[in-house]
């Protein structure tokens, strides 16, 4: 993904090069030794090429002291890393990795403190007034993070121009902080009160500074304290929301993992220990698709969903026809046989793909975070998984309740003999049900591939959890599975920060064992004649 992005950037660079043919020439002038001349070049670059990505990169690298040029060819390079006196560099203009060379082959574009601060303010200014909202937002955040007294003018200037509310809010926060720190006594008091509405770490640090400062007036400290309290209340509220969100996303993963199991276990009374491996197959399908179609990484997940459903479903049907068919009515035997199958599938994957974990790439639209405010940000991949789990759940409900296949499945579940007598091909229904259960596991595997590495043990990690969900929720009840998955996910995420991840898991298992004392058949037990045994 990163590579792809670079490619796009690179292509854009190419485009710009043709527009601004003399960017390169102007940059050449940086080779001068006079710091004053360099300052002029910097200002010129900012004025002329403020919309060019390269200006930003060049100045940032120059400020950090990572900009060099080669003594022999004069080519500008960026230092990536150094080992002793060996320099690993990248060509600045064509973005190509260069062979490691000795430091003596390069000359540094030298700066001093004054020049660096000039570059910094120029960069901030350039970005803060950029046409691109994202750039402005990033720049505003950077300013807030490293707030300086000198930034005040820049911020007020930007505030008068800024239209975007997100950027404006951050700039206002920065402005208020500056007033709270350096304004007159009355202004300070006002600003401190206003800070109660902001949530960033910077605000908290400022308020704490004011509280701990011996020169602060009593009134100011009091006001700062109340602002700080209100901020912390809001933040703790958001942290609960965040935990709930994490719990919900874990619950969604569990739901995806358990729902196929609930179908095979609940509907067919088959303990499918190979269920985890069906998830593994789904995850490997995603991986394989990305290997086969490297140009379609952005869509690979969407393509993988139906493909994984079909692949895992077919494997499931084959297993059902070959093995499970002979073992109906003997749940403990299906447990053993499917466990054997799971071992075979794991080894098969090791033989085909290697025993090492493989990395599945995340499309760019799934990565990143959704920042609601400075105290609460949600990652997109988890958000999508929650949505996806809900869609899958609704889909299954629809298939089971609205289609003729679903009707037949329910008929076979409730009374096999009667269904057979009514002319339903029970063995066909068995195979289809098992195939659907396995196919959903495959879909779950696609989702999982976005959260963890894909390896031969992927299924094992989730199988015990999924069984817990099914047993907790009540066998054969989809709503029970839904509630069970979410409950366990939430409990896990709320215990984890207090007790640690491992202990949280142990406590959940203990909880379920105790829960079974009260309700041996789960939250929503199956009713009726068939329910016993």
């Amino acid at each position: 993904m990163k590579y792809n992005l670079l490619k796009i950037v690179f292509l854009n660079l190419f485009f710009f090069t043709s527009l601004f043919a003399n960017f390169e020439q102007d940059v050449e002038e940086l080779k001068t030794n006079s710091l004053k001349a360099k300052q002029e070049v910097v200002e010129q670059l900012v004025q002329k090429y403020s919309e060019d990505e390269r200006t930003n990169l060049l100045l940032t690298k120059m400020k950090d002291g990572d900009l060099y040029y080669k003594k022999d060819s004069g080519e500008f390079v960026i230092l990536e890393k150094k080992e002793g006196s060996t320099y690993f560099t990248k060509s600045f203009f064509d973005n190509k990795e260069l062979k490691p060379q000795n430091r003596r082959d390069f000359k540094k574009v030298k700066t001093n403190n004054k020049l660096r601060s000039i570059i910094k303010s120029n960069l901030a200014q350039m970005n803060l007034f950029s046409k691109d909202v994202k750039k402005r937002l990033l720049s505003a955040k950077n300013i807030l993070k490293n707030l300086d007294k000198e930034d005040k003018e820049l911020i007020s200037k930007a505030l008068t121009k800024e239209k975007n509310s997100d950027v404006k809010e951050i700039l206002e926060e920065a402005n208020t902080i500056l007033i709270a720190k350096y304004g007159t006594a009355k202004e300070q008091l006002d600003a401190v009160k206003k800070l109660g509405d902001h949530l960033s770490n910077q605000t908290i640090i400022t308020l704490k500074e004011i509280i701990n400062n011996k020169n602060s007036s009593k009134e100011l400290v009091k006001s700062a304290n109340s602002s700080l309290n209100s901020i912390q209340t809001i933040r703790s509220y958001y942290s609960v929301v965040e935990k709930a969100f994490f719990g919900l996303s874990l619950g969604s993963v569990l739901l995806l993992a358990a729902i196929g199991l609930a179908i095979t276990f609940g509907v067919m009374k088959v303990i499918n220990m190979a269920h985890g491996e069906m998830m593994m197959i789904g995850a490997y399908t995603t991986y394989t698709l990305q290997q086969v179609m490297p140009s379609l990484i952005e869509y690979s997940i969407l393509i993988a969903i139906p493909v994984a459903f079909i692949v895992s479903g077919l494997v499931g049907i084959i297993i059902e026809r070959l093995v499970i068919r002979h073992l109906y009515g003997r749940p403990l035997e299906t447990l053993l046989a499917t466990f054997g199958i799971s071992l075979i599938l794991q080894q098969l994957v090791r033989t085909i793909y290697s025993p090492l974990n493989q990395e599945v790439k995340t499309p760019s639209w799934m990565s990143g975070t959704w920042e609601i405010n400075s105290a609460l940000s949600l990652t997109y991949n988890r958000l999508y998984i929650i949505v996806f789990a809900i869609l899958v759940f609704i889909g299954i409900l629809l298939v089971l309740n609205k289609t003729s296949l679903g009707l037949k499945v329910r008929a076979v579940t409730q009374n096999r003999q009667m269904a057979q007598a009514m002319g339903i091909k029970t063995s066909f229904i068995d195979a289809m049900t098992f195939g659907i259960g396995s196919g959903i596991a495959g879909i779950a595997g696609v989702a999982l591939s976005q959260l963890t590495n894909v390896g031969p043990n992927l299924g094992q990690a989730y199988i015990v959890d999924s069984f817990m969900v099914v047993v907790f929720g009540g066998v054969g009840n989809l709503w029970g599975t839904l509630i069970g998955a979410i409950t366990l996910g939430e409990i896990n995420k709320f215990i984890e920060p207090v007790a640690g991840a491992v202990l949280a898991k142990v406590l959940i298992l203990v909880f379920i064992i105790l829960f079974i004392q009260k309700r041996p058949r789960g939250l929503f037990p199956q009713k009726g004649r068939d329910a016993q045994d």
Binding site: I271, M273, V323, H326, L327, R330, P331, L332, E333, L335, L336, A337, F339, G340, I341, S342, L343, I344, Q346, Q347, R350, T351, Q460, V464, F467, M468, V471, V502, L503, K505, V506, L509, V510, I512, I513, L514, I516, Q517, K518, P520, D533
Partner: protein
């Protein structure tokens, strides 16, 4: 001379048991003789490696026997018997750890190496007493027994049966595995307990100690077999089989099913604990992997392959699978998981009564012993 008739009495009508134990006795005695007496270049010499291997198989056989007691005779498919085995093993490991004294890498006489490494200043309370062999011996059976009691009491009381029971036993061993993998549990984390030096003052690397452990393992298996057979020959055993075949009917007749189950479960757990305690000094390490659900499920297949509900079948199964495992994992490591997985499938599909059942079917039809009672 006084005990002999009792043994024979217990083994009456148990041809399979007599054969299996007899063959094992001969093998163990010959191994002891060949390892200690014969010169190393002799054709009939048996290496210390083989002795250790045989000892390990015997410990596993005892574990399989313990599982057959609950699965084959009272119908509890425990997927967590590895936990009892591991607890017994850890108890023994703690004793062996205390025996190292100041010979560890850090030379600390009060603390095992891993605790020094973890900056512990004092021995955790649950390590007290484990320098005493008698205390250790009691704990080897008591700790798994207590776990079995608590777990079994909760599970059987609320009538968790069949598949549900299997799944929560698996969850139990999984939870323990997660706990024991933690470094701050005080059991050496993922490295477990190792670097043992001696047992009861005897050097663990000496051939004579190895042979002694081998013989003790055999005697333990023998004793375990007699106890199991004795229980199953008694009235109690017949109630157990009744529970296995028709639990609710047995309950309606008036038997307290839960108490029978609990008793057998505890006996079996203690037996598994002893197996673990014998395993540790011979293999030289105990770590949380023994708690892994895979191990517990694998041992179910030992019993299934040997023949469930026959006792001696469990021993045969443990030997067959572990020998195959030793052979394949060194000769064809990639094939082993295929073979093990295939065994699970083939045995459940085609050999519902295991190897023992197959043999007796081939043998005669007149010997319709207890095998016939065994159904799913």
């Amino acid at each position: 001379m006084k005990r002999k008739p009792i043994i024979l009495q217990i083994l009456q009508n148990d041809k399979g048991g007599k054969i299996v134990l007899g063959v094992l006795a001969v093998v163990v005695l010959y191994t002891a003789f060949a390892n200690l007496v014969l010169p190393q270049d002799s054709l009939f010499y048996i290496s210390t490696y083989t002795v250790t291997l045989l000892g390990k198989y015997l410990a596993f056989a005892l574990l399989a026997l313990a599982l057959d007691l609950v699965w084959g005779y009272i119908g509890i498919l425990s997927l967590g018997h590895g936990a009892f085995f591991a607890l017994g093993g850890y108890a023994m490991g703690m004793y062996l750890m205390r025996q190292i004294g100041d010979r560890g890498v850090y030379g600390n006489p009060d603390l095992p190496d891993f605790m020094v490494f973890m900056n512990l200043k004092e021995l955790p309370w649950f390590w007290y007493g484990f320098d005493n062999p008698i205390f250790t011996l009691i704990m080897i059976m008591l700790i798994p027994g207590i776990l079995a009691f608590v777990f079994g009491y909760l599970a059987f009381r609320s009538r968790v049966t069949g598949v549900y029971l299997s799944i929560i036993t698996q969850a139990m061993t999984y939870a323990l595995m997660l706990a024991f993998f933690r470094n701050d549990m005080g059991f050496g984390g993922n490295n477990g307990l190792t670097d043992f030096k001696d047992i009861l003052g005897f050097d663990l690397s000496a051939d004579s100690t190895r042979i002694a452990l081998l013989i003790i393992s055999f005697l333990a298996l023998f004793a375990g077999y007699l106890i199991a057979r004795f229980i199953m020959n008694s009235r109690l055993g017949r109630v157990c089989i009744a529970i296995r075949d028709a639990e609710s009917r047995t309950r309606f007749i008036g038997y307290k099913v839960e108490q029978y189950k609990l008793f057998i479960f505890i006996v079996s757990a203690a037996m598994a604990g002893v197996a673990g305690a014998l395993y540790v000094p011979q293999v030289g390490i105990i770590n949380p992997n023994v708690f892994s659900p895979l191990f517990s499920i694998e041992l179910v297949i030992w019993v299934a392959i040997g023949g469930r509900g026959t006792l001696y079948g469990a021993i045969v199964g443990a030997f067959i699978v572990n020998y195959a495992s030793t052979y394949f994992t060194s000769a064809l490591p990639e094939v082993w998981l295929y073979a093990l997985g295939g065994l699970f499938v083939v045995v459940t599909l085609f050999l519902p009564k295991g190897v023992v059942g197959l043999l007796s079917k081939l043998n005669l039809k007149k010997d319709k012993g207890e095998l016939q009672n065994v159904t799913a």
